[in-house]
Symmetry: D2
Subunit: 314 residues, 4 copies
């Protein structure tokens, strides 16, 4: 049976009809107002009406950044949306009718599940997905099942502490992994280098016209791909933190595969090689165990749609 997957962002919604093999048969989008929960409900209703007119659909999977209730019916808290203990399935259900099943999922879980089912993880049973973006999100599959945790908030990998007394995190704690292993950390470190090492940062400064605040992750990637030594170091440092933290996770759950998603994947081997080296050097009991493979995500930006749709069937 087909399912609709909906990826609910801060200002827009992307959705698609997904078949049982993870193919997207049709897609649509809506712009929404993050402060107006009703506008999101309404947009989802319209999306359902549009897509279900051409396809028979048995369920809808709704993916959003936030804490999802453990029964997958609603959202406890979403940092970028107006939801606080919001019964999303009820509200959307009132608009789309009772004969379609509605399931809410965390967006990183949805993307990870898509990789597990149809992407780079389709041949493994135990997988860790890391989504390296503004923050560091994740998803965990153990024994072929998505790990949601006792209260639905598992795989908040970005808030594992990796440095006692380390960088402050928006969550109120110090030294969270996402302060070292995220696109934001890459940009912050690059901006710092522009100030403290201007001569080495000549190419990066040139790319941003001398305006440090304009620097983005893609600038670093571009410079690195041109061979710029500082940019290569910055990506290697990001990779080191991803790899070393992954070794700690591996000590706990012993995955077969670790998938790196998010925009930084564009750097390819300039990121991936340092990740793998750091992981191998830091891995506990190395030599007495096979080592997890580390690969880039394969599903691209549609992973949230595909994963949400697929999870709504289960």
């Amino acid at each position: 049976m087909h399912a609709i997957g909906v990826d609910i962002g801060g200002t827009k919604i992307a959705a698609g009809v997904v078949d049982e093999d993870g193919n997207i048969l049709a897609q649509t989008r809506r712009v929404t107002e993050p402060d107006d929960a009703g506008s999101i409900d309404k947009a989802i209703g319209e999306i359902y009406a549009e897509l279900s007119s051409s396809y028979e659909v048995g369920s809808i999977g709704l993916a959003a950044a936030g804490f999802v209730s453990s029964d997958r019916s609603g959202v406890l808290f979403a940092p970028n949306l107006a939801w606080r203990n919001y019964p999303l399935d009820e509200r959307v259900g009132a608009l789309v009718g009772d004969d379609v099943r509605i399931v809410v999922e965390n967006d990183a879980n949805a993307a990870g599940w898509a990789e597990f089912r149809f992407g780079v993880g389709r041949d493994v049973d135990d997988m860790l997905m890391l989504t390296v973006g503004t923050g560091l999100g994740g998803a965990l599959v153990i024994g072929g099942k998505l790990v949601r945790g006792a209260w639905g908030v598992a795989a908040e990998v970005g808030h594992m502490r990796v440095v006692p007394g380390g960088h402050y995190c928006g969550c109120g704690h110090e030294g969270c992994w996402e302060q070292y292993a995220s696109g934001s950390a890459l940009v912050r470190d690059a901006q710092s280098a522009l100030i403290t090492q201007p001569e080495r940062a000549a190419r990066l400064l040139e790319l941003v016209g001398g305006d440090v605040d304009q620097l983005t992750g893609p600038d670093v990637t571009q410079a690195a791909q041109e061979g710029d030594v500082l940019a290569i170091e910055l990506l290697a440092n990001l990779g080191r933190w991803i790899g070393e933290g992954s070794a700690s996770v591996a000590a706990l759950i012993d995955p077969e595969l670790i998938v790196i998603g998010g925009g930084v994947g564009a750097a390819g081997d300039l990121l991936l090689a340092p990740v793998r080296n750091a992981f191998a050097e830091q891995l506990s009991a190395r030599g007495y165990r096979p080592e997890a493979r580390i690969e880039l995500a394969a599903m691209g930006n549609d992973a949230g749609i595909v994963g949400a749709a697929d999870l709504s069937r289960v």
Copy 2:
């Protein structure tokens, strides 16, 4: 059906007949030679002969410290025994016959499973067990299943890194959790305090007759229970590391219960209160989620026997 659980230590073996409710119906012991793998096989054979003469037994669970093969047939590596890629089930099977099923498990996993099935975790689905002894071992239960990992070496919690550039660990890495959250760490820190703060350490020095090298964990616990300020601080510091590391694990797997086992449990609330405080202060997204309970283990030293027996049935 009854099962035999066997807890294989470095120099002795303890075993028992266990019923389906986790009760031990009969027990026996053997002294063994750690460097002689054959002596261990033989002792297990004798134990089986002895215990199966009075009880009908369907399976044997063998628990040992080491890396167990993912099919649970043998041991890849055991730090304190002569096993290297040792086919334990085959060797023991040759002695006990084909009609009894033999399953090998990691000892920390066995103890954790006993707590999950019959001890403090019997009402939960998602549980982390921490065994705070010479090192820091663990077991992980997710969705009611023991997590063994892709290659059988999951729950090596003691080798998650908590301090970059931190204390050297016997595993070859720096900053492993067990260097901060173990009985050995407690003793090491206490011995350091005897040297650097002798006046505050008066009671501890008295307990060891002035011989710093004689200091043990129970000495610290005794002094703390008498009200000694330094000993209370040392336990609180141990508790803080246990609690803060647990918060990182909780960010990843969101357990309902965290169980603290091992000898340090004798300190009771002098350890448990700091663990809980540190966990709560460090927990990600606190206030938006229920918090895991943290409790002392309830099964005592027989947990390995009971857990190994029970796991041999599954």
Copy 3:
């Protein structure tokens, strides 16, 4: 001979006539425009005219936050003022005439010197002054002489690194001491506690009317003096960082006295006791050496004026 001391802040200037015993005989003030270097020169000229009309003055000491040239003639860089390689003695000299000596000093050095000559350090030869304010400044006296360094930028204690990978500092580096041992760090940690531990922070929340952003260091001190447990912990944590870092400095220069200045001194023993404990616990070779005393500064807000004046005589 009398000297004039001038303490040049971001928006105002305070000055006084100081005798050879460190007494202030007369004082005056001016409001200035930080972006207009000429307005500062002019204000100093007016101050000289005013104060020298009643007192015979042989020299002027000018203290400001910034990097002072090693010949003490000008300012290389001042973060809060318009000075960049600014020849302050020449510009002021043009206004006040040739018969008065003009000396430029770093403001933390001036305050430390005042404590050394006339305050809590008047009986020692080797002293470290820490000024715990928005940042962490310092002054160093060795063998009775102010240490300026090879290029005039010694005693930048706030930028010693105490945590690799630690909090970002405005200077572009990570883990600088002032990110842990300053009034700003106290406020940051307190604000974090308001968010992550609201129930323990009840009194602090009450003091700021529930507005986390309104919290100041004096709020924490007030709550601590009332007995609030969280506020006492926050001050103790600040004190711990001050004391532990001081032990590292003591390993290098072995001072007889460490002086704690800045607004946090208002907390008295609630700060000082943890500083002393942490220093003693962390001190290298304790037991084989006398230990530096740690005392609060005695000179108050006029230390900059008195120290600048006195240093202009040497």
Copy 4:
């Protein structure tokens, strides 16, 4: 006037007659018994008799590892010798007579002073010497004067803390700089790499015949000079810790020159380049100040003799 410099080691004494330009005119040696303080006194007496028979000598400088009393008359504590509050000048004076001045100095101070007066530091006024050997020793010259500290134990740089919760140090504390910036740290990290990265460590393993415990610092240097990637990384890591710690010291005392002594200097630029890079990257206020030069020591093993002799004149 000539002076005798005596370098007192754990099992042997090296001495020489030194002229005012730092030239050694004659040398001699004695083997001693570290547990017998009298044997050391006697050997020094013999040395004086031997050397003073051919040269007119006005003073004797005695250098030893340990805490020297602030009046330079004796030794408070020496880790490797039988001295505890030992009045060395009195004991030696009884053997050599009253007409020769006897001065006791810390050995690292003596070596640093030799570099300052006659070696790589002869043109500067402010200098930090780091002696990177089994541990990390140092000497500090400010304004042309040796900094001894209030109680004679300044420049214990090896016990500045660089990693909170870091490696245990023999001094009883955690994270001391010498646990990261010493020959011992290099060997420890190299041995760890042999175990955790055997394939990358092939050349190092070959050099020690497969026996990890045989590995020494010179093995690492040799492999690095042959181009071995792991060995180069190990030296670079050592250099990074030396350079980053030096930046913290520079924030405090702003030296013109930092001198690297000890056996690791044999690695030349393989060590020095990473030291300089790390120092520059970590230096506070870089760009607003000249940067300290970092150079290898020039005086070799005789620095202790030369420095002790020269300091005995002052």
